[in-house]
């Protein structure tokens, strides 16, 4: 992804790893490119392995480096994503509002996240392609209900028109930032400073703080 060049030379206070998940073709890659470099590509290349982009965002005076991972959406790729979830503090679970089946798979994706990711990962349900309202197959209420039931944040976006895209990322990053700040208060600021100086990912879960050290996924 050519995204990186926009923010290669950066210093940051926090590094947050986010993952994009959801069925194939719901627009994960375009959400990412729209956020990272304001680009939308109707025919973007299918994502096969893992791809990256990152962008710096300022929240309450702290520079947050959001490192966003994007991967293939086909069901069979789910099993090989151990490394994908490692160290992630946020997940954007994307579905396509004009394609029912992608919403029906949300619960399976949630199961996947809860199995592989840190237990305190912040998950946000994202209904993409809101520009296709005339083809809508998933109502906002319904998605909201699911989000409420599962304890997720929820938003509808359009990677095409960029509506909601920045809000999506800033909301999830703000939420993570808030949690991390709270955690820092809990354990005193020294630790936090050390973490930041190392430029390592900040891990939301206290108990799993050792996950910063390379700890090995299935095939690391």
């Amino acid at each position: 992804m050519a995204a990186a060049s926009s923010s290669v030379d950066d210093a940051y206070d926090y590094l947050f790893k986010l993952v994009l998940i959801g069925d194939s073709g719901v627009g994960k890659t375009n959400l990412l490119s729209q956020f990272a470099r304001s680009e939308f590509n109707l025919a973007s290349k299918a994502t096969i392995g893992v791809e990256f982009a990152w962008k710096n965002v300022t929240i309450e005076g702290d520079v947050i480096k959001a490192q966003i991972w994007d991967t293939a959406g086909q069901e069979r790729y789910r099993a090989i994503t151990n490394a994908y979830y490692r160290g992630a503090v946020g997940a954007l679970l994307v579905y396509d509002i004009a394609k029912r089946v992608t919403f029906d798979h949300v619960e399976a994706w949630l199961k996947e996240v809860r199995e592989h990711a840190d237990s305190k990962i912040v998950v946000m349900l994202v209904g993409n392609k809101s520009d296709l309202s005339q083809l809508r197959q998933v109502s906002t209420d319904e998605a909201q209900e699911l989000a409420k039931r599962e304890g997720l944040a929820f938003i509808e976006t359009s990677a095409l028109t960029k509506s909601g895209v920045d809000t999506t990322f800033s909301r999830i990053l703000e939420e993570i930032h808030r949690i991390v700040k709270e955690q820092e208060l809990d354990r005193g600021d020294d630790d936090a400073a050390a973490v930041v100086a190392d430029g390592e990912a900040v891990v939301v879960d206290d108990d799993k703080a050792d996950a910063k050290a390379p700890s090995g996924g299935c095939c690391k």
Binding site: M1, A2, A4, S5, S6, S7, V8, D9, D10, A11, S24, G25, N41, A43, S44, K45, A46, I48, G49, V50, E51, F52, W54, N56, V63, Q67, A72, G73, Q74, E75, R76, Y77, R78, A79, I80, N82, A83, Y84, K99, R100, V101, F103, D104, H105, V106, E107, A108, Q137, E142, E145, R149, P214, S215, G216, G217, C218, C219, K220
Partner: protein, 682 residues
């Protein structure tokens, strides 16, 4: 600030002019002639190879089956197959072990043409049922809430003892309450149990409709999500449909809905899915997303349709595997070179069922099959043994082989490399055999070594380059520092980059991934005038750079910010004026001579070819590691499965890392103090 910018611009112009002069000198003209001579030689060599291939292909056409495995073909293939004959050479080299005939392909295409609309219809029906189920569930939930509210009111009147029970949900609710009172969060689990064995979704007439909807609806959703159990979903939906028809009494809207649900149910009942046939829906999605920059495969184009037919025909050929993302790139690469569609299909199918590729695409259910994970781990261990510095670096950065090598090998590089390079690599793999994709992975990793090992390049850039090496084509500076002419382009190029950055603490950032600065070896070959003059201005340049960086700040002077990497040296170094220096001439000659081989381009086919020899790949070692890792991974999977059954226990610890195993001892201080065994590579 602006004065400095002006100075930089002036400087750039001078450099460009000096460069022009250098180009005009007689030595350089000689170099141009030399370049022409080489080009001519290359043309002749190409023509000769074409003739040799023609001869081989003719022998093969005449029934000589020994040709593809002959030493002659192998030798020829090692130097790359000329573009003109590739379309015939590939099918010959891939062979047709599956005995796919034209007629076979035609039949598969017919079958696919019938299957595709059915699958689409089925998907629409599933959506209809899911939406309906959701609706029913909401109605039921509303009713449940009302019931609960009424109940709460009742208990409030009756006394405080009922409060706890009401808030705790259905398990604590009095047994006499109707199951319809189950609040949503509890419903899915209860419903799943009832829907998984189709027969058990009993719908006795005694159960009130609302409660049945509660139990059936989420069950349908859950089963649909666990796609492998369409039977269960159908069963759950079946009961739902009957109920819908039963309850649709008077309201015409409801009747219409019931009719649609019934129709959808009928479609589901009459459209069986064999294996992974539903993956045709992903084909539609992926065809236009295959090499979109080439725009050959846009919807409606001949090539796009051919690709779609090949992929759907493959689903019919092997419904157990179906279409797996990544295949489209392999098929498209074949199709780009083999114009005959039936022949392209045959080549694609045969390729897909070659052992190495077959296992890379998993055993059908998912891609996390033991064999392939073991392969990835074994690959990492071979790299750790033979290229310890790279392995160590990747270990430090925490980049696992599954993050990039999986996609490399699965698509035989077609997804991640420029198409012309992919073709060259395929030439080699096809003549050499099955373990070669892995060897090429090691060589490619070695070729990218300068970038991976560059301490200035951080996790993000390394992983970006590894997951998508062809990005280097857009980042020539990172790849090589190859700049067309003079300093001005250096200015504008890096200026454009940095001005977009706008970071606030740039000056203190030591280890930033400096995309505009070429890696060490590339820098030496980067024949910009600045680097040619490098030696005498070294220390000052560093000082200038830091000053420049401090001052640059957030001001709009893009060019000055850019100077952080290259330009400031120009501003403060002694000016060469208009007379080209010896170094400049030297650099110009050097650049011209290197223009063809592209010595330092990590994506140059010849360079990768050299790396194939130097990466120290060892097939025997790879096989031995694979066997070891396979045992390990299998045991791990078993342990994992067991720990999942005992939910109380903490999570099973992951397998140990692989980049460091095997070299853990060797890569310790001793290694660091003396140059590593393979350090001569870099």
């Amino acid at each position: 600030m602006s004065a400095e910018v002006a100075q930089l611009r002036q400087e750039a112009t001078r450099l460009a002019m000096a460069e022009q002069r250098a180009m005009d000198s007689s030595e350089v003209r000689a170099a141009i002639q030399e370049q022409d001579r080489r080009a001519e030689m290359a043309r002749r060599a190409d023509a000769k190879r074409c003739a040799q291939w023609e001869a081989l292909l003719e022998r093969w056409d005449n029934g000589d089956d020994s040709v593809p495995s002959s030493l002659e073909a192998r030798k020829l293939g090692q130097c790359g197959i000329p573009e003109r004959v590739r379309g015939r050479a590939w099918p010959m080299l891939i062979g047709n072990g599956l005995r796919i005939t034209r007629r076979h392909y035609a039949v598969l295409c017919e079958q696919a043409a019938q299957m595709v609309p059915l699958m689409k219809k089925r998907q629409r029906a599933e959506a209809t049922l899911a939406i309906h189920a959701q609706k029913q569930r909401r109605v039921a939930a509303r009713k449940a809430r009302e019931d609960a509210a009424a109940k709460a009111a009742f208990f409030e009147e009756a006394g405080p003892s009922g409060d706890g029970a009401a808030s705790e949900g259905p398990s604590a609710a009095p047994p006499l309450e109707s199951p319809g009172a189950a609040p949503p969060p509890q419903a899915p689990t209860a419903a799943k149990g009832s829907s998984s064995p189709p027969s058990s979704s009993s719908h006795g007439p005694a159960v009130p409709p609302a409660s049945a909807a509660v139990s059936a609806a989420p069950g349908a959703a859950g089963a649909a999500a666990d796609a492998p159990a369409p039977g269960a979903a159908a069963a759950a939906c079946g009961s739902l449909a009957k109920r819908a028809t039963a309850s649709a009494a008077t309201d015409p809207e409801e009747a219409e809905e019931a009719r649609r649900v019934e129709e959808a149910q009928r479609v589901l009942d009459t459209t069986p899915v064999f294996g992974s046939q539903l993956s045709v829906l992903v084909v539609d999605l992926d065809v236009p997303r295959t090499f979109p920059h080439l725009s050959y495969f846009k919807p409606g184009t001949d090539m796009g349709e051919a690709l779609r037919r090949i992929l759907t025909a493959f689903i019919c050929y092997r419904p157990d595997r179906g279409y797996i993302q990544g295949m489209s790139f392999v098929a498209a690469t074949v199709l780009l070179h083999v114009p005959d569609e039936a022949q392209a299909f045959s080549a694609f199918a045969n390729l897909m069922l070659r052992p190495a590729i077959f296992e890379a695409f998993g055993d059908g259910a998912d891609l996390g099959n033991v064999r392939f994970i073991a392969r990835l781990r074994a690959f990492a261990r071979v790299v750790a043994a033979k290229q310890p510095r790279i392995a160590h670096r990747l270990h430090t950065l925490d980049i696992g082989p599954d993050m990039f090598v999986g996609a490399w090998s699965r698509t035989i590089f077609s997804h991640v490399l420029p198409t012309e390079l992919t073709a060259r690599i395929w030439d080699r793999i096809l003549v050499e055999g099955d373990s070669w994709p892995w060897r090429v992975c090691a060589a490619l990793l070695a070729s990218l070594g300068d970038i991976v090992l560059n301490p200035k390049v951080d996790f993000g850039t390394v992983s970006m380059v590894l997951t998508n090496p062809s990005i280097l084509r857009d980042m020539p500076a990172l790849a090589r520092g190859r700049v067309p002419s003079g300093g001005s382009s250096v200015l504008s190029m890096s200026g454009a980059r940095s001005s977009r950055g706008g970071s606030r603490r740039e000056s203190q950032e030591e280890h930033r991934p400096d995309i505009s600065a070429p890696p060490p070896s590339a820098a030496s070959a980067a024949s910009t005038p600045t680097s040619a003059r490098g030696s005498d201005t070294g220390p000052r340049r560093a000082g200038a750079a830091s000053v420049e960086r401090d001052e640059a700040g957030d001001e709009a002077s893009g060019a000055a910010t850019a100077g952080g990497t290259v330009a400031p040296s120009a501003a403060h170094a002694p000016l060469p004026l208009l007379q080209p220096t010896e170094e400049q001439k030297e650099a110009a000659i050097q650049r011209l001579l290197e223009a063809i081989p592209g010595r330092d381009d990590p994506l140059n086919a010849d360079r990768i070819g050299r790396m194939l020899e130097r990466c120290g790949w060892d097939d025997a070692l790879f096989e031995a590691f694979t066997a070891e890792e396979e045992r390990l991974v299998r045991r791990d999977a078993a342990l994992r499965a067991r720990s999942r059954k005992e939910p109380g226990k903490s999570r099973h610890p992951p397998l140990p890392g692989v980049w460091d195993s095997g070299v853990a001892a060797a890569a310790t201080p001793a290694q660091a103090s003396k140059p590593g065994l393979f350090s001569w590579l870099w």
